[in-house]
Amino acid sequence: MRVVVARVEDFPPGARRIVKAGARSIGVFRVEDRFFALRNRCPHQGGPLCEGRLSAWAVADAPGQVQMTGPPRLVACPWHGWEYDLETGQSFLGPGETRVKAYDVSVARGGTLDGDVRRAEVPEGARAAGREPGPYVAETFPVYVDEEDYVVVDV
């Protein structure tokens, strides 16, 4: 199902929208020039995930020496604060059986989705933080800007 979210100019960087797709609620985020879409339901205990705070990776090699790296691409569930990468829906809360699932994520201006399907590897921030992908994965959806500059998500 194609769900129109908003016009691009009404969707500035840092903004987010919660849209309904049938019974499901989807959170759509714009971080700098990229769009992401995530099921508004935390895989842990069903909290409204997409209402959570966004933050970047905090990386510390020694106690007290912490830097933030990369764009704010982790959303923290408003209940228990478990965090998921917007692009892959992957959590990094402990050893998980599955590596990251491939997702068809792309932003194309005008026209259908572009051809190459990029495997989203472990984000650079997670690797810097020495973090392993965990078993919990939030459901993500492809999102793109259609020809009339509407942000659209495929549910």
């Binding site: 842990h44 205990q45 069903g46 909290g47 409204p48 209402e51 959570g52 705070r53 923290a76 408003p78 209940w79 228990h80 604060g81």
Partner: protein, 368 residues
């Protein structure tokens, strides 16, 4: 919105089985509500000097949404201060049949006795006016100035006749370990009125054991251990043995540690029982007979089977009760809390049966 039982004839009203009781909900009383219920003397005192007890976030700031569910903030209030939002997000959302209110309003022991007596009386009055009178699915815990036993017993005597107060509230840490004789008069009064004593994580911390933790994560993960200390004190000092009708409800302290604690105390007792003549039987028997546990924050072992092992090892089948801890950040949602492999009959006990028996709640209620 006011949700009172409609006065329809019983057979017409559609009634439903009670299937979900939430044993740990935190309403929050805003300062304006408190001061208008205090005497002039203590209202002026509060305005001038405030409370001497540090707020929990003064010692350990909660790094995650100030310790609250981010979505639980009402307009112009703090999480837990608004009945309508609580009804919407909790009682209605999860179709909760009965909810037990535990108002945490700063620990006793730091402020003048009379102020603590008035504060507790004000909270109890507010619970009646702002909550119990406005939603018949709610029950409440009786707040008492626990470090002033005489004043605490007076408050129990004053309120015990109102059946909607289903237990007396105690913190896990007070000025003395909870088994100290100082507190026995309160336990005796509660037991005499058929009220369990709920011991909720938090209270008066002096951290004299191993010194002060550095991080909230360290302190929060240690709450289960502090509850073990409280229960160890209550058993070894003989409070449970001396007051057989006393029932304890350990809230927001977890439960999985109960198995190891029972073995530890039983074996120590078998070697050292001549020191504690009040304990005629192994400590685990008193725990099995007189101690209930809330699930939250439920331990989530990687292997769900370990959860069922603990239920057997710690004899929790009829002693574990579900709680959400709304609106705190480590809120357990009723639908996802119990791991796979918990038999249906046990789920029903955990979600409602055990609480109904303990608190004398009806097994059916009208689906108003």
């Amino acid at each position: 919105m006011t949700r009172l039982a409609t006065q329809t004839a019983p057979d017409e009203a559609a009634s439903k089985a009670v299937t979900l009781v939430d044993c740990d909900i935190h309403p929050v009383m805003l300062p304006a509500e408190t001061s208008r219920r205090l005497s002039a003397r203590w209202r002026r005192h509060l305005e001038r000097y405030g409370r001497r007890s540090p707020h929990i976030t003064d010692t350990y700031p909660r790094p995650r949404n100030q310790g609250m569910r981010a979505d639980a903030w009402p307009e112009g209030g703090v999480p837990g201060s608004d009945l309508a939002l609580l009804q919407h997000q909790l009682l209605d959302e999860h179709d909760i049949d009965f909810g037990i209110l535990l108002a945490l309003h700063g620990s006793d022991g730091y402020d003048p006795p009379e102020l603590m007596a008035e504060l507790n009386r004000a909270v109890n009055d507010w619970l009646v006016e702002a909550w119990l009178d406005r939603d018949d699915r709610l029950r409440a815990s009786l707040c008492v100035p626990h470090d002033q036993p005489a004043l605490a017993v007076a408050e129990i005597e004053r309120r015990a006749s109102d059946g909607r107060f289903v237990q007396v509230l105690f913190p896990a840490s007070a000025q003395e370990p909870l088994g100290a004789r100082k507190y026995w008069p309160i336990y005796e009064a509660a037991a005499a009125h058929g009220l369990p004593v709920a011991i909720h994580t938090g209270g008066y911390y002096a951290h004299r054991g191993t010194g002060w933790p550095s991080f909230y994560l360290e302190e929060h993960a240690g709450y289960g251990t502090i509850m073990q200390l409280a229960l160890t004190s209550l058993v070894c000092e003989g409070a449970l043995a001396a007051i057989p009708d006393l029932k304890l409800v350990l809230t927001e302290g977890g439960a999985a540690w109960a198995a190891a604690l029972r073995w530890r105390l039983d074996e120590a007792w078998s070697l050292l029982h001549d020191e504690t003549p009040l304990l005629e039987r192994p400590p685990s028997e008193y725990i099995s007979e007189q101690v209930w546990f809330d699930t939250q924050p439920i331990e989530e072992p990687d292997d769900p089977a370990h959860f069922m092992d603990i239920i057997q090892q710690a004899d929790l089948t009829d002693r574990l009760m579900f709680a959400t801890d709304y609106p705190h950040w480590d809120f357990d949602s009723p639908t996802q809390t119990l791991p796979r492999g918990v038999p249906k009959e046990l789920r029903e006990k955990i979600f409602a049966g055990t609480a109904c028996d303990l608190y004398g709640l009806p097994r059916t209620r009208d689906a108003g």
